[in-house]
Symmetry: C2
Subunit: 412 residues, 2 copies
């Protein structure tokens, strides 16, 4: 780890050696990995990436806290497409919109970036078992990435996790514990079990390396934009780890001279569960909320990475935008119909937030905005059907088809 | 279309100009696109691909029947990962196995390759509406790729199509007609409607360009293997279009001097619906069968592309291997647990066939085999749960967890 200096507590500033099994600070604060940016700047530039044919998150090795000899993970994680979304932009009345479809990762969510990192660090730590609690995507991505690399996994999910995510877990051979309770209950039981059995800990707010995996999403966005910094990057926010990781990637690029300014973040949460946005909007400390939204991946009433997430939003002079479940379902339809992207509810929440921010006049319609679609809609088919409805059913007969069309006022 | 010569009927040999809205021969035979391979060989070589940064199916333009000025499709289709699958190979007792995970395409199946081609050809034909019938994946891939490019779609699916595929269709804004009947009934009604309203036809056995899209899967496999030809390529087979397209890609590469020999194909069908394999095994003409398998994507009792598919299997001195639904479910578990890949039932049928062929002594364990995983398991979560079971449910309490572990003999 040539460029890694150490880990620093974001709360008390204490410094730790960056050993593979690092967790939180003695004070309870979350740790942040710090690099020697001058050395990165001296050794590594955008031109080096032009010749790199590794189209995965591991193309950014100098920015990642892994040993030089650590092999990459078996599944191809990262380098998801960044689409220029002119059809949706026109619909929203926005000049320039890009969509980063992170549902194209191996287990169909952005969480693969953190799980691939967890697998590498678990191997460096000499572990053979990895565990986590998750609302679903971190779980299935850990199970898939770990299975491919030969690790055992113990996974704790709340009972509300959608069937698609649970099916993935079971197929990947994880020991899955469905907890009859909230995400908060699930997290607490996983912590107790991890402490008891000494498994490698993939809880993203506990293990400081996981944000470093997640940050590759913004490293990629910036490379795909040829290092031209957009005005805003919109992300759905639950635990806070993803937006914190995205911000870390941007700051790293700035510190190493790859970009010369920073975009503003748009933190989008669901009305029914928005403790972080409420803290931003009121200026008060965050307080727990109920988990009352269909966007299960971001239904996190007690965000584990509040410190880093709030700092990221504030440092970026970011916006906190809150959307209803109806607005989330509307964004699912919009993304599907205009751009052919099927996102899960939390996956499209960032896009719902951009629409809302435009309606509220919070962002200039001439802005350039990037929205990260964090997970594939196939993970939660029920919400897809709820957003888009059921198809017409007809017997195999032309007259029946004609009358079904007439009834629905379809005129081919 | 500098390198396209014409289309030729595979049944009667009649030749047609390669206009965009080409369908079948007057004799009812399927058409095949023929190229000027000498010209391709003179202008284009593997070295040209080394410098190509377009990591999508469109990197193979000289091998594709599209106008020079036609823009690529909006969604990033192709360049799915090819994994060396040592863990699964060991489990199967096979020396070298590669897995091509085509479930990583934008709408999560190989069919995106054909649908992207359909969108380009529909645009060249001046159409604004595209239609197809499909067991599900062709439908959802057409709906997604067409939505992103601004086309209307009419899609006919049999009532048995899994919920995930139907949810995709609805989100992508297609006019979806669920036909209360078999795939055969669905196909017939779609044909009548397409004839009546003059929509652009994306039925893969009717439109000769679609195999040309599908063939990019073998173009990619060969480039990813650095043009080293494997002994076998295994594919699940329904309508016959995918295996025909895969074979066309290999023959094109051979004719253009990119590879110097051809692999043998392994055609894998489900016991409950195997008209093509039965024809290969008995040497008699194919006869319709019932559609009696959980692998819905290949449950095709009346294969529309039998001529090309049977020719491909025979020309390659291929194997026809038939597997039970139980063997398909077993392959789902195997791929998930050893390699972190979640395939839908038809998506893993090729892998099930490799296992069966090894057990029957049909292939040498020292062979190099490529298996194409044609679709993502998230499309059919019910089958995933059926393959892998339900997770344990516990209250948020350590004692409850301990007794759940004890009951299942899990010793962390």
């Amino acid at each position: 780890m040539k460029y890694v200096r150490h880990a620093r507590c974001v709360r008390c500033g204490a410094i730790y050696e960056a050993v593979p099994a690092l967790t939180t600070c003695r004070c309870g604060g979350i740790l942040d990995i710090e690099y020697d940016y001058e050395a990165i700047r001296a050794d590594f530039s955008p031109a080096d990436l032009d010749g790199c044919r590794d189209y995965s998150m591991w193309r950014y090795r100098p920015f990642l806290p892994v040993e030089d000899g650590s092999p990459p993970t078996p599944l191809r994680v990262g380098w998801s497409p960044l689409y220029r979304a002119d059809r949706l932009a026109r619909t929203l009345g926005l000049r320039t919109l890009y969509l980063k479809d992170d549902g194209q990762n191996p287990t169909s969510s952005l969480k693969d970036r953190a799980s691939a990192m967890a697998v590498v660090k678990a191997r460096e730590a000499g572990a053979d078992t990895i565990a986590c609690s998750s609302t679903g995507n971190a779980a299935s991505s850990l199970a898939g990435n770990a299975a491919a690399a030969g690790f055992h996994t113990y996974i704790f999910v709340p009972a509300r996790a959608p069937k698609g995510k649970v099916a993935q877990l079971m197929i990947f051979g994880a020991a899955v514990i469905t907890v009859d309770g909230s995400y908060e209950d699930t997290f607490a039981l996983s912590k107790e079990a991890i402490d008891r059995w000494g498994w490698y800990n993939r809880n993203a707010a506990i293990n400081p390396y996981l944000s470093e995996g997640k940050k590759t999403v913004t490293l990629e966005i910036m490379e795909q934009l040829h290092w031209q910094v957009p005005d805003y990057i919109a992300l759905s926010v639950g635990d806070g780890c993803t937006i914190a990781g995205a911000w870390k990637g941007l700051k790293d690029l700035c510190a190493a001279g790859f970009i010369d300014r920073l975009p503003r973040l748009i933190s989008v949460q669901a009305e029914g569960c928005c403790p972080l946005n409420r803290a931003i909007q009121t200026g008060e400390p965050w307080r727990p909320m109920e988990e009352n939204t269909l966007a299960d991946s971001i239904a996190v009433g007690v965000p584990r990475n509040a410190d880093k997430a709030l700092a990221a939003i504030r440092e970026s002079r970011g916006l906190a935008v809150t959307v209803s479940d109806e607005e989330i379902l509307d964004a699912m339809r919009l993304l599907g119909r205009t751009q052919g992207i099927f996102g899960e509810p939390a996956g499209v929440t960032g896009t719902a937030g951009i629409k809302k921010a435009l309606e509220l006049g919070l962002i200039d319609p001439d802005s350039t905005v990037v929205s990260v679609v964090t997970g594939n809609g196939l993970k939660d088919v029920q919400s897809g059907i709820r957003a888009a409805g059921e198809p017409m059913l007809v017997p195999p007969d032309m007259d029946a088809l004609l009358s079904a069309f007439a009834q629905r006022r379809i005129a081919p």
